[in-house]
Amino acid sequence: MATMNMIQALNDAHKVAMRADEDIVVFGEDAGYFGGVFRVTEGLQKEFGKTRAFDAPISEGGIIAAAVGMAAYGLKPLIEIQFADYIYPGYDQIVSEVAKMRYRTGGEWTMPMVIRTPYGGGIFGGQTHSQSPESLFTHIAGLKVVIPSTPHDAKGLLLAAIADPDPVIFFEPKRIYNGPFDGHHDRPVTPWAKHPASDVPDGHYTIPLGTAKVVREGEALTLLTYGTMVHVSLAAVEENGVDAEVIDLRSLVPLDLETIEESVRKTGRCLVVHEAPRTSGFGAELVALVQERCFYHLESPVERVTGWDTPYPHAYEWAYFPGPKRMKKALEKVMAD
């Protein structure tokens, strides 16, 4: 067991996996010698050599296409797209090739790869370093979509993603790489070391994809969330004195419906929280599922807390971000009558 921040935990997962499996190759922009702009791949080139951890040209389409070829050969690409906002030149390769390969070849060719990419705002990154595009991937049949919220889960989920026989888009909430975030941007940042989930077991362990985690048990309402918003939500329910059951989904596809249903049936109320824009966000899917499956248990309409349907605005970051005020209002609304 060691105390780690999320970057260190992800780095450790790389090392554990790469030591055990020589077929894993890591590449991405600045991901080789330098170890990535967020340092997640630091030291990999030194330990595993230049042909297993290397710098890629600035070509996201090329990075993902090359990974397709490598996976076709039999390797397991574990690749980095520097920011989720940069993934779009590779979108055709992901949507048309990576996602559909197993299906279109009747299982002859498969794509066991992990595409890691930092996402989300709260770092004054403007519109090209802040987006949360998870729903562009959850909508694509054939892809799995995973989002950790703690160092402990980041390592276990990444190791599970690497072991998975299908392609996984692994979104890393960059705002909480170095410490959890309660949504109060004007307060000092707390390091991970003060959070129990910074205890990261040594060696290999996995958190199965499709298992949500109840991070706070409660009776009053069920709060469904993931990534950075897990911590913002936890702080909000404490601040507002709501006995919410907070569920960190951890993986959007596959989704742990059982945990969600069980909780909503118990509480009778549900709030869905994500940073991504509202329209066609993953929250819409969650709301639909909850009403389809738990309608007769619901005591109030299911609400959503989300980012606005605008590009991520640089100076207006904290007016855009779904912070404590938006949380408070939604909690009150779901709890009314």
Binding site: E29, D30, G32, Y33, F34, V37, K50, T51, F54, D55, A56, P57, I58, S59, E60, G61, G62, D85, Y86, Y88, P89, F124, G125, G126, Q127, T128, H129, R278, T279, W308, D309, T310, P311, P313, H314, A315, Y316, E317, W318, A319, Y320, K325, R326, K329
Partner: protein, 424 residues
């Protein structure tokens, strides 16, 4: 298909090896660039701008240089610029450098979130602005702030953009330095690399469709030439014989990746034009006269319907990629000093002195004047606020310009955001 057992035929073959490019020097090394071939100033031939693309291709591996070690202009590429224009270019370059230093410091002081300098690369944008017409259109990358400065865009407005304040024409929406100004022929900068390169081609196609006289210039870095958009730009430019100048600013580094990761170990960037049948020049990017001469040549070619030109400007990124980058983690700190093509500001200054049109005293006075102007602009800009004070007023502006008209769902969200802002 051979009937032979593949295993049997392989016995004498070497095992395959993956080559991963590595820069010559890493932190701790002493850089020595004596391997870089630097032809004498004035040695490159200058074909007529109407020649076929193929006739330019020997220049794709050459290096067009005008300013010699004697600080004089040499050879057929000397654009023979009058001293007043040279002094204007020098002033613009000094202004860019002072501006960069002030804004870098402003970021470090917490006045904004981000900044990018172009130190060591000032000549390319300043000479481009001088060589092209005022109404030609630029599709820049994020290191051509010199275009705006040379075209007289107010320094204060640039700073207001950097501070996202009340004077920011982009309404606080864009990351610092992602300027945009139609009136100054400066297309909106994108944080997504390379997108502007084929867009420049499209603008120039439109000018040709409409029988216009204005041409376009697209800019890209060495690293971003790896993007698919680079190929799209080159293909469209070649197919439609587009009146566009496509500039690759090869400053050797793409954050931590040296130019070899973009293919520079195999061919010059200028050589990429060969396969597309596009005229190509490789130019000393730290030589303002050579840059000017090359762009003038390409503009004459484009204006006479003789087609596009790709130009590689060979230069060096003397500082970090941005305020978020520390280059000492991947390259020797002394590389910029060891760079064999010198400093573009110093070279132009020395040339003016050699012409008898400048002296150290006047240069000191110029530097002081630029400093005063930049500081004054900064003071003006800061009166309108710095980033940490922004994002609280005029919240409704966040919902404007998403569409021409605000749709019902954004109107609803705008009302919610305004209520949220009032809520204590």
């Amino acid at each position: 298909m051979s009937d032979k057992d593949p295993e049997a035929t392989r016995a004498n073959r070497p095992v395959l090896e993956l080559h991963v490019p590595e820069p010559r020097y890493r932190p701790g090394d002493t850089p020595d660039f004596s391997n870089i071939v630097i032809p004498a100033a004035g040695s490159a031939s200058r074909p007529d701008p109407s020649v076929t693309a193929a006739q330019t291709h020997p220049l794709a591996t050459d290096l067009v240089r005008v300013l010699g070690d004697d600080d004089q202009a040499h050879g057929p590429w000397d654009p023979k610029i009058d001293p007043d224009t040279l002094r204007k270019m020098l002033k613009d370059m000094v202004t860019v450098r002072v501006f960069d230093d002030r804004m870098y410091r402003a970021q470090r002081q917490g006045k904004t979130s981000f900044y990018m300098k172009c130190t060591g690369e000032e000549a390319v944008a300043i000479a481009a602005a001088a060589a092209l017409d005022r109404d030609d259109m630029h599709f820049p990358s994020y290191r051509q702030q010199g275009l705006l400065i040379a075209r007289g865009y107010p320094l204060t407005t640039m700073m207001c953009q950097i501070y996202s304040n009340a004077g920011d024409p982009l309404k606080g929406r864009q990351l610092p330095i992602m300027y945009s100004d139609k009136a100054h022929g400066f297309f909106s900068i994108s944080g997504n690399l390379g997108t502007q390169f084929p867009q420049a081609v499209g603008w120039a196609m439109a000018a040709a469709i409409k029988g216009d006289h204005r041409i376009a210039m697209g800019w890209i870095g060495d690293g971003a030439t790896a993007e698919g958009d680079f190929h799209s730009a080159m293909t469209f430019a070649a197919v439609y014989n587009v009146p566009v100048i496509l500039a690759v600013v090869n400053n050797q580094w793409a954050i931590s990746s040296f130019s070899g990761i973009a293919g520079a170990e195999r061919a010059t960037f200028a050589q990429r034009a060969v396969g597309y049948g596009i005229a190509s020049l490789r130019v000393d990017g730290n030589d303002a006269l050579a840059v000017y001469g090359a762009i003038k040549w390409a503009s004459e070619r484009a204006r006479a319907n003789n087609g596009p030109t790709m130009i590689e400007f060979f230069t060096y990124r003397a500082e970090g990629h941005s305020t978020s980058d520390d280059p000492t983690g991947y390259r020797p700190a002394s590389e910029a000093k060891a760079w064999p093509l010198g400093d573009p500001v110093e070279r132009l200054k020395a040339h003016l002195i050699a012409l008898g049109e400048w002296d150290d005293e006047r240069h000191s006075a110029l530097a002081a004047q630029c400093d005063v102007e930049v500081r004054a602009a900064q003071k003006e800009a800061e009166k309108l606020g710095i980033l940490p004070q922004q994002g609280k007023d005029n919240i409704e502006s966040m919902f404007e310009d998403v569409y021409a008209e605000v749709p019902w769902h954004l109107a609803e969200q705008r009302a919610a955001a305004l209520a949220e802002a009032k809520d204590k």
